[in-house]
């Protein structure tokens, strides 16, 4: 610390700061701080000209570190880190001090106090930079290969798109066949293509690619390493064979499970009450007339939202709160297919909200034209399925008729079941996949980082992320591909060096840090200098700091937030101003 030369640059931000803070007073006070070699003010620190002047100053004054007191680091941390790098000093020797959002703007009527606060904040920044150490990003060479888990349509499309970009792909499917759920649906919305045909086309294309290796009847059983360089093991389902692979990125496309109603839920289990997937399997075989168990079907009643948008109840403590998105359209489309088989069949749709969004609205209108009848039921009074005298009868309150109760005799009741998260405990454990509130895999942010997970280099896609139509599943798998490919084609990844580090002198291996760390493999026990100590693996550490508060010896700290830095900042914030 002794001998470090720090430069303090204070920004007026036009008048945004200097109107409320006496910048000259701050400059004069900061200049007297020990370690500060130079203190200057700037009208706009972020302007090209100011940055040039700062670079000149850094070089002339042979500075080791700098502090810029300006706006929130959210705005210009990267700008000024880049400037520091251009000037020749380490970019982590730069500290940004927020004297705009957290000082001048918040204390506009207290100039003296705001000025005093600014002095203290800048002093804390100086203390932080003085105790900082030059750090370099951790560069990891990436292996130009990817693992795709799940060969449904999302996974198959991902494999092809990665292969298009010259990335070798290992596509691992648990089942004996590829294609996932889609081959069971026959004609699919929006353009009536056969699911099996879509899958077949993709499979042919995959077979022609030399850089795609497809494993069916196989599972991922082990993952080591970190982003850019994972070692994984794939095992044949019958346990006969195990293959070790090295990949730089992993795309998870393991899909969903159709919701399975409980016995008695909307009459499920009684003859004539089927789920939408079950009905879809009946349809292709039907010609001329629809038949169910050798009986002609005249009346079909669809009950929407089964297994989706559930309310919490005593018998259902973990309800599926989400809308399954695909089912309104699939049900309406199914009605069109049924009308195609027998134009005379009567179809009643008992729905809550019609979510045939986008172009699928056309299907909704067409179903109406082809004779489907739509009745809206209230959220709190779902239809009831009964069998008085052995015949199915559905009682429903129609919202649009002022809540009047109607009874509809049915030959077939189709429960429009939603999507449920697929049980995948082994994979979740091997890949350490984050699972969200609804039970699907969780992205970092649904809008800003929709296919990335907290595990760097592991991406999620398709219906494994949450209910999606096929087009949406493919869109998300291609998003995962572009994220993964961007990582692999660059040839390296730079990881933030702001991770935990152990002071091996002070550490006496108690293991507390390892217990507190939620990230697999980040903390290891190693032997050093004749004793056991903790070692934090910089590529696996996320820099969360979870290990810091549990260390009895204060031996582990985050780079940039070390115990010493925090305490020095506290001192600088309270020390008297003379």
């Amino acid at each position: 610390m002794i001998g470090k030369r720090i430069g303090a640059f204070l920004c007026h931000c036009g008048g945004n700061i200097s109107d409320y803070v006496d910048e000259e007073k701050v400059r004069a006070a900061v200049e007297k701080e020990s370690g500060v070699a130079v203190a200057k003010t700037f009208l706009f620190a972020c302007s090209e000209a100011s940055q040039e002047e700062m670079i000149r100053t850094i070089r002339e004054e042979k500075l080791d570190g700098i502090v810029i007191a300006s706006c929130s680091p959210k705005l210009h941390l990267d700008t000024f880190r880049a400037m520091a790098r251009r000037s020749g000093i380490n970019r982590y020797m730069y500290t940004q001090v927020n004297v705009r959002e957290q000082c001048s703007w918040a204390h506009r009527h207290e100039r003296e106090e705001a000025t005093e606060k600014a002095i203290r904040l800048v002093r804390a920044g100086v203390a932080h930079s003085r105790l900082g150490v030059p750090l370099t990003d951790l560069r990891i060479e990436t292996t130009p290969a990817a693992l795709v888990v799940g060969a449904g349509v999302a996974g198959m499309r991902a494999a092809l798109a990665l292969s298009d970009m010259g990335i070798a792909v290992y596509l691992v499917e648990q089942a004996a066949r590829v294609g996932g759920r889609v081959p069971a649906w026959g004609k699919m919305f929006p353009n009536d293509r056969e699911g099996a045909e879509i899958v077949d086309t993709l499979l042919q294309a995959i077979r022609r690619r030399e850089n795609i290796t497809l494993f069916t009847g196989a599972e991922v059983v082990e993952k080591r390493g970190s982003v850019g360089d994972f070692s994984v093991k794939v095992r044949a389902a019958d346990g006969t064979e195990e293959i070790a692979l090295r990949v730089g990125a992993i795309v998870v496309a393991t899909g969903f499970d159709p919701y399975l109603p409980a016995a008695g839920e909307f009459g499920y289990g009684a003859p004539g009450v089927v789920t939408l997937p079950e009905f879809r399997e009946l349809l292709p075989a039907a010609e001329g007339k629809l038949r169910y168990r050798d009986r002609e079907v005249r009346n079909i009643v669809y009950i929407y939202c089964v297994g989706s948008r559930q309310a919490a109840a005593k018998e259902n403590p973990r309800p599926n709160l989400y809308c399954s998105r695909y089912c309104c359209t699939a049900a309406v489309h199914t009605a069109l297919l049924a009308a195609g088989v027998d134009a005379g069949v009567n179809q009643y749709h008992l729905y809550r909200d019609m979510r045939t969004y986008g172009k699928n609205e056309i299907l909704f209108e067409e179903a109406g034209r082809k004779g489907s009848v739509f009745l809206r039921y209230p959220d709190d009074a779902p239809p009831v399925v009964e069998r008085p005298g052995g015949e199915l009868l559905v009682r429903v309150r129609d919202v649009l008729l002022g809540g009047e109760e109607i009874g509809i005799p049915a030959d077939l009741v189709v429960l429009v079941t939603g999507m449920a998260p697929r049980e995948n405990a082994n994979l979740v454990n091997v890949l350490k996949l984050p699972v969200g509130a609804g039970g699907f895999f969780n992205e970092i942010h649904p809008k800003l980082r929709p296919v990335e997970t907290m595990i760097d280099g592991v991406f999620i896609s398709g219906a494994a992320q949450g209910p999606k139509t096929l087009a949406e599943s493919v869109a998300s798998s291609l998003a995962a591909v572009s994220k993964g490919a961007a990582l692999l084609l660059k040839g390296y990844v730079d990881l933030s060096p702001l991770v935990a580090k152990v002071d091996t002198e002070a550490c006496a291996w108690c293991g507390e840090c390892g217990n507190a760390c939620p990230y697999d493999g980040a903390v290891e026990r190693v032997r050093q200098g004749g004793k056991e100590v903790a070692y934090v693996h910089p590529a696996l550490c996320k820099g969360c700091g979870g290990c810091v508060p549990v260390c009895p010896a204060e031996a582990v700290g985050l780079e940039g937030y070390t115990n010493d830095q925090v305490k020095a900042m506290i001192d600088a914030l309270v020390r008297e101003i003379v």
Binding site: S72, P73, K74, N98, R100, E101, Q102, C103, S104, W105, A106, H107, R108, H109, E110, E112, E113, A114, E116, K117, R120, L121, A124, P434, I444, H445, M454, L498, A516, P518, K542, G543, C544, G545, G546, C547, V548, P549, C551, E554, L558, Y561, N563, V566, K567, M569, I570, D571, L573, V574
Partner: protein, 135 residues
């Protein structure tokens, strides 16, 4: 200003531990919206509130701060999924340390501040300032 506020020197000194991605933007927003709070409030930012050492809290109070406010992530944290529970444990430990030293555990406070929580932040600062003045 309409009324003369007690000068910053007399108002309780509060150290806020805030998080880079969740509460910092909320505190920044308070400033952007020109809401005011006591200039005796100073912020130190960390990646996650689950990484604050209880000793830092103690250190701050011994160094001259009157109170320490921990802006927890309130379940939004991308670093540590259980950070609220972790932060609560840290606060408990810090309060334990304070009691051992005969200091008032109410000098440490924790509340969830999210990235748009400008108003809650300002009102927490007001309340904490008042509460500390009475201790």
């Amino acid at each position: 200003m309409a009324k003369a506020a007690p000068s910053a020197g007399n108002r309780p000194k509060i150290l806020v531990f805030s998080t880079n991605t969740i509460s910092d933007p909320g505190i920044d927003l308070a400033g952007s919206q020109h809401m005011s709070y006591s200039p005796s409030v100073k912020v130190i930012s960390v990646p996650c509130s689950g990484g604050i050492h209880p000793n830092w809290v103690l250190y701050a109070l011994e160094a001259g701060f009157d109170g320490v406010f921990i802006a927890a992530d309130g379940g939004d944290c991308a670093c540590l999924p259980d950070c609220t529970a972790r932060t609560a444990r840290i606060v408990e430990r810090a309060q334990g340390l304070l009691k051992e030293r005969g200091s008032d555990p109410r000098r440490v406070k924790m509340a969830a501040i999210c990235s748009v929580c400008s108003e809650p932040f300002v009102s927490h600062m007001r309340q904490f300032t008042e509460a500390l003045s009475k201790l």
